[in-house]
């Protein structure tokens, strides 16, 4: 520890900290623009100049390490003069257009100019003008306002993983720009808006719509990925105007993914369902709640009475709250129906009943940074959990080694130590190889159980998997770690795979040998919570896949669009069409709900209170930030009243808190969570390592901005580069084998369904696979996300049909 003095205040600070760190810790304000605690130190704005005794010139507080006995003055005459001079310099070229600037009212430059600047400037010269750049649909630029702090450049390079912006030119001609009219495509790009200390980078969707002082700030929880990021929703006149991150070091730090930041635009979509609707002779008619609920209850009663509770299928979105999940489960039980499931994009349910507890990510989000070795299985991590990718990137920057086993070779924007890119079907074999190699490594004394040994006998370990095994065991080219901290995670592609059980068991066995932390990375905001409450089929009930495979007489849908949210789009559409009655609790009118019979308008996360449980088991409740739109009602209320109308007992909740208390039996949530989270299996599951599979396999990834109904309706997200029409993406060798070329039109067949798609050359796809995005109307005729697929060249008739489809969609 060092003893220093700032403004006469004696302080004890750690070795190696800078003056600005010491001052921040002591609550002494030093103005700054370029310094940010999460970014590297640039020291180029000079705003943090302070006077240090025995130095004959002011020093930048952000780049000056403290020394023992240092005496620092932040408000001395010399310091104030330096601050005023820097301020005058920064304002030489800054346009004083605050009245038309979106940053006005929350602008660092404004605030610091008032606090530390002089009252006037001596400069009378003309100010420079910098032309604006179009860097995409999310971030708006006014480059004349830029003060060249380079926070945006450093963020994209250090946190985003890809330097997409840079400062070109020199001196007076220096300007921030992307490379030759390119856009900024980072899935974390919105953070540069928060980082920009002036109004040079502002939010494009929010632009000119409100002033910061008109907004009411309310806390909430991000509803899209499994992290449970803390957000602050800004509301004006009962309308969500924008979403910003709330600082939470252990989850989202001070960042937010673009999906969580800009999805709110989907809340105000014209698609929003505002009144209950009933289909009468094929025509939608608006109605009131009482009629709608009575009609729904009548239908449910009739069908369950006539055909039994088993005739009903209940499909729940994993983005719904715990309260909603709990109530719909209770309601189904009341109707004698065990067909309840939230795992809409899963195919393999062999682990049901074999688990000891609720599967989770197996460690805390923050712990990822401390891992030495990370194995990602079947995960396009940037697409699935952008901020988790950021944590892994941090770990890799700290020296961790990342290994990937996946059918997709997407660039995670960080160094990958080893990767094996194979067909989903072969991933099991690869994991088996890793396991076998590990058990053979000399450093490990552990032997495998005999059953596994026989399974692994025929497997031949290839050199690249041998390397992954060695890496996980702590042996690598540069150094050897005796007991590396290992993390093994299974992503969305593994979760949707028909051989998930094999992958999971293998991962568990590898984890056992390496002492790894890890588990699954559940895709949605409340996947873990839904499992915890058992929003899953009863012992005799059907799982999500069976419910659409064997059509039910009636369906109760909570917050989903069947053909876009279920893993087998064609079956889902078919099942809904065949059902006698489909009751959808939904926030949106949707083409995907054309086959429904009753639409009950429910409130999205901003208009209801509720609780999400994140992938690390954090139970987080939130309040409504606005009142429900039109006749919308929180889903927990709708379910309660529906249950009351059905005459079911035990549905007398007056608030979502009461439901929450019931879920946790009045205990602290953490107590129940602590008992429940467990990735272990009760018994060994019969698995096969080698299954021969000929033919093409589909990789049906759900694109980031198609993951749930809200995101699908956010215009700015839909305008990003990530929103491209689904195509049949294949490796060059695969194209040659099929005699196809980039740009050809093909028909993709899966089961009975088909889709017309353009071929796209994509060498990031494993050979033997076709990457066809899911959750899109163009691919709604297709089947399993990770199933078999055949590709045929399209005829001329098909071409005409394809053109027609496109015009229809436009």
């Amino acid at each position: 520890m060092l003893n220093i003095e700032i403004d006469g205040k004696p302080l004890e600070v750690e070795h190696g900290s800078t003056i600005i760190d010491a001052a921040d810790a002591a609550g002494i304000a030093i103005p700054r623009f370029c310094y940010h605690k999460k970014l590297s130190v640039a020291a180029n704005c000079r705003m943090c100049l302070v006077q240090v005794e025995k130095f004959n010139k002011p020093l930048p507080a952000c780049a000056t390490p403290v020394a023992d006995g240092m005496k620092i003055y932040t408000r001395s005459k010399a310091a104030v003069e330096a601050q005023q001079s820097v301020m005058e310099f920064l304002l030489i070229n800054h346009p004083l257009d605050c009245p038309i600037c979106d940053q006005g009212g929350e602008c660092d430059l404004q605030d610091i100019a008032v606090a530390y600047g002089a009252s006037g400037s001596r400069y009378t010269e003309e100010k420079r003008v910098v032309f604006n750049k179009n860097i995409g649909p999310l971030v708006s630029t006014d480059m004349t306002r830029c003060i060249q702090c380079t926070r945006c450049v450093r963020f994209l390079k250090e946190v985003g993983g890809m330097q997409e912006l840079g400062m070109v030119g020199r001196g007076e001609h220096a300007e921030i720009t992307a490379y030759v009219d390119q856009s900024v495509n980072s899935e974390l790009s919105g953070n540069i808006i928060d980082l920009c200390p002036v109004g040079a980078l502002t939010s494009k969707p929010f632009r000119y719509s409100a002033r910061s002082w008109e907004l009411t700030r309310r806390s909430s929880i991000a509803p899209h990925d499994g992290l449970g990021s803390h957000i602050e929703v800004h509301v004006k006149d009962h309308k969500v105007m924008r979403v910003l991150p709330r600082e939470k070091e252990s989850i989202n730090e001070c960042w937010l993914s673009d999906r969580d930041r800009f999805s709110y635009e989907g809340l105000n979509s014209p698609d929003r369902l505002k009144v209950p609707m009933i289909k009468h002779n094929g025509q939608w008619q608006e109605t009131d709640w009482k009629t709608a609920l009575e009609f729904a209850a009548g239908q449910l009663k009739d069908i369950t009475k006539q055909y039994g509770g088993d005739a009903l299928g209940v499909l729940v979105s994993p983005n719904s709250t715990m309260e909603e999940g709990y109530l719909i489960k209770q309601l189904s039980e009341g109707l004698g129906c065990g067909n309840v499931d939230y795992r809409l994009r899963q195919t393999d349910f062999r682990l049901d009943g074999k688990r000891t507890g609720t599967p989770w990510m197996g460690c805390n989000i923050q712990e990822i940074e401390e891992l030495d070795r990370i194995l990602l299985i079947g995960s396009n991590i940037r697409n699935e959990h952008p901020l988790l990718a950021q944590r892994i990137r941090k770990a890799v920057a700290n020296g961790a080694e990342l290994c990937i086993v996946s059918p997709l070779d997407n660039d995670p924007l960080m160094d990958v130590a080893h990767k094996v890119i194979v067909r989903p079907n072969d991933m099991v074999n690869v994991l088996g190889q890793i396991l076998k190699a590990m058990s053979g490594l000399q450093k490990l004394s552990l032997c495998l159980p005999p059953t596994l040994n026989t399974l692994l006998e025929e497997i031949k370990v290839r050199p690249n998997t041998q390397k992954i095994a060695e890496c996980l065991a702590g042996i690598s080219e540069e150094l050897i770690l005796i007991a590396p901290k290992v993390g093994i995670f299974l992503g969305n592609m593994a979760l949707s795979d028909p051989r998930f059980t094999e992958m999971y068991s293998m991962a568990e066995a590898i984890g056992g040998i390496t002492g790894a932390k890890g588990g699954i990375l559940p895709p949605a905001a409340n996947s873990t919570g839904m499992h915890l409450m058992g929003v899953m089929p009863s012992a005799t009930g059907m799982h999500a896949r069976a419910m659409i495979e064997v059509p039910r007489k009636a369906y109760l849908l909570l917050n989903i669009e069947p053909e876009l949210d279920c893993q087998h789009a064609a079956l889902a559409t078919d099942a809904m069409a065949k059902a006698e009655c489909v009751i959808a609790l939904t926030a949106y009118k949707s083409a995907a709900l054309e086959n429904a019979d009753i639409l009950l308008p429910i409130a999205p996360f901003t208009e209801t209170s509720g609780t999400f449980m994140s992938m690390e088991g954090r139970v987080q409740s939130f309040q409504a930030v606005t009142r429900p739109l039109g006749e919308c009602r929180p889903a927990w209320k709708v379910l309660r009243v529906l249950a009351n109308t059905l005459g079911l007992n035990g549905f007398d909740y007056n608030s979502s808190e009461e439901v929450k208390n019931k879920i946790f039996h009045g205990e602290k949530p953490s107590a129940l969570v602590w008992r429940s989270l467990n990735n272990n299996l009760k018994e060994l599951v019969e698995i096969q390592i080698n299954i021969k599979k000929e033919g093409l396999q589909r990789i049906g990834e759900v694109p980031q901005y198609e993951s749930d109904p809200i995101v699908r309706r956010s215009p700015p997200l839909q305008k990003t580069k990530y929103n491209i029409r689904p195509m049949a993406r294949m490796h060059a060798d695969q194209l040659t084998e099929l005699g196809l070329q980039d740009g050809d039109l093909v028909v993709a067949y899966q089961d009975k369904g088909s889709a017309l798609l353009k071929v796209r050359l994509d060498n990031h796809v494993a050979k033997g696979c076709v990457r066809v995005a899911a959750a899109h109307p163009l691919t709604a005729g297709l089947g399993d996300l990770m199933g078999d697929i055949t590709i045929e060249k399209a005829s001329t008739e098909h071409a005409a049909l394809y053109e027609k489809q496109l015009t229809e969609m436009a």
């Binding site: 330097q163 840079g166 070109v168 490379y179 030759v180």
Partner: protein, 159 residues
Amino acid sequence: MLSAEAIEKIEYELAKYPKDRRQAAVMSALRIVQIERGWLSKESVTDVAKYLGIPEIAAMEVASFYNMYDLQPVGQYKITVCTNISCMLRGSDEIVDHLQHTLGVGFNEVTADGKFCIKEGECMGCCGGAPLLHVNNTHMHEFLTTEKVDALLEELNKG
């Protein structure tokens, strides 16, 4: 695509730095490509960035910072006259006027025959020889007078 010769030269430069610090060779690589192609088009900058495995914008930052890199076509002979303080006090304005008058082009312009281009340079660190200029970043001429400039132009015209 970079030529085989350029790649060979860039590899020579890369060998001077640690393997995982390929960005360190960006200045040399840009120089090599500029000498080969005359100037650095956006495609050239992209080629260099791709070869080094760095973001294109990072290469552009460097290329646009130093004024010995030319992001616009230059003539066969690029004449860069220093106009910083020492040279200015020793009469660089006169040299510039004379050059511009003789060649009929201003700064950053190329003569119609594509032979000459005049650029305004920053201090070259040889103030003892002011006023001065250099040709194609490599040949420096000191203690300039209008006669010396004429002689230089004549020589270049011949060659």
